[in-house]
Amino acid sequence: MSNIPSDLKYAKSHEWTRTEDDGTVTIGISDHAQAALGDLVFIEAPEVGRTLEAGEACAVVESVKAASDVYAPVGGEVVATNAVLADAPETVNSDPYGDGWLFRVRPAGGGAADGLLDAAAYEKLLADEG
């Protein structure tokens, strides 16, 4: 059974978001996503300073099996990426909601996380996907 923390918001494409106290949004992939991908071996995060549109393919997570796009759950400027992942991509497997975060954006227009799912809705999505 997937771990789905209740304090996060989720995209249908299996990213999670957490709005920080400073208004930036931290983004990662869900426990379900990391388990489905298998052991991660390479992560390409968007460059700091890049402006993302919501829904844009902006990062790549590659597992032993395949490469998968990560889509920006919110639009905005990338303000940080997780440096740990260059040498330890497996951190996303072991701690997808903590040390395995991917990048952080400052949302454009302050409107963070519109149209994202809460934990209950994401859990239902996973159940429906079977």
Binding site: G38, D39, V41, F42, V60, E62, V64, K65, A67, A86
Partner: protein, 360 residues
């Protein structure tokens, strides 16, 4: 639902992620493909390879038949249990399958062919066997388990009849031995020492569980693929198939050209290609930039484009590696198009890793 081996339920019970592999429901991994890979390089892991097809060929004419059927020459096999790797070619000299053939006695050879080519192979072999007075028996009554890794032999030994243990421990590479009702071979597909064990199917699950008790970790096809890629071993259907010859697949060493009058199927076409020079070659690639190579990526060389045939992340090297078919004049520095970007890669001679150690 696909075909299932007698060990299917054991895989499910062990938490395997099951995937379709050539029409078979097989374990991809039991949790972590990376851990399973390292387990084999460092200690011992085991794979259910019962989906592979075991054929017994019987008859007074079996040796001359196989000397015609296979590009390698079974005349090299003169002692019971000796094994040989060979391609089976069609008349065009391209690869129908790759296989291992074991010499049992003068009127009996055993072959192990790929699961995905099973029906095609059986039809081809039977078609040619009819005139040769050779009987082809499909041995679906075996479970086959590949136990691989530096500690594989010592883990299997207690499960063999006591009288056979010293001989099994001393078996050289590419040799096999009947141990009671078990058939134990020192073949494998990982670049590590170990045994492939054929077990009567009705004892298969018990034997598997006994191996678990001996400390053999179940490993899935995912690790099997990264292990064989590191070992520089071709995968049929990816690195060679009916559109490529052995000369274009770095398998020239498996063609027995001598004696010149041995008329194996595909020989005239191959000789023509050898005389003209193959235009393509299969090479190993080591990715220099960060990223992961996969199959079917465009390779850009000074002599024109090629394509990766297999690729992935090498857990032993911590880098990405691939096999690629490129124009024969390609240099050692080239580029691979990975998700829209050209990344630098270097041609290296496989194997990339073997016996627990990086080789490039």
């Amino acid at each position: 639902m696909g075909h299932r081996t007698p060990l299917y339920q054991a895989h499910v019970d062990a938490g395997a992620k099951i995937v379709d592999f050539g029409g078979w429901d097989m374990p991809l991994h039991y949790g972590s493909q990376l851990d399973e890979h390292h387990q084999v390089r460092r200690d011992c892991g085991m794979f259910d390879v019962s989906h592979m097809c075991v054929l017994d060929l019987h008859g007074a004419g079996v040796r001359p038949f196989l000397r015609r059927l296979l590009a390698n020459d079974v005349s090299k096999l003169t002692a019971t249990g000796r094994a040989l790797y060979s391609c089976m070619l069609n008349e065009q000299g391209t690869v129908l399958d790759d296989l291992i053939v074991y010499y049992m006695d003068d009127e009996w050879f055993r072959m192990v062919v790929n699961a995905g080519t099973r029906d095609k192979d059986i039809a081809w072999i039977r078609r040619h066997a009819a005139a040769a007075d050779v009987e082809v028996v499909v041995r679906d009554d075996f479970v086959m388990i590949a136990v691989q890794g530096p500690n594989a032999r010592s883990r299997v030994a207690p499960l063999l009849p006591e009288a056979d243990r010293p001989a099994a421990a001393a078996l050289g590479p590419f040799r096999a031995r009947a141990c009671g009702d078990l058939f134990v071979a020192t073949t494998g597909y990982t670049g590590e020492d170990g045994f492939e064990v054929m077990v009567p199917a009705d004892r298969g699950k018990e034997f598997w569980n006994d191996l678990v008790a001996q400390g053999c970790a179940p490993c899935g096809l995912g690790a099997r693929d990264t292990l064989r890629l590191e070992a520089g071993m071709n995968l049929y259907g990816s690195d060679m198939d009916e559109s490529t010859t052995p000369l274009e697949s770095s398998l020239g060493w498996t063609i027995a050209w001598d004696p010149a009058d041995r008329a194996f199927i595909g020989r005239p076409a191959l000789e023509k290609q050898r005389a003209a020079g193959a235009r393509r070659k299969l090479v190993g690639l080591l990715l220099q930039d960060r990223g992961v190579l996969r199959g079917h990526m465009r390779v850009v060389t000074s002599a024109g484009d090629g394509e990766t045939t297999s690729g992935g992340f090498s857990p032993t090297l911590g880098k990405s590696i691939a096999l690629a078919r490129v124009p024969v004049g390609a240099g050692d520095e080239l580029e691979v198009e990975v998700r829209g970007k050209l990344l630098k890669a270097t041609v290296v001679k496989p194997p990339f890793a073997r016996n627990g150690k990086p080789l490039v």
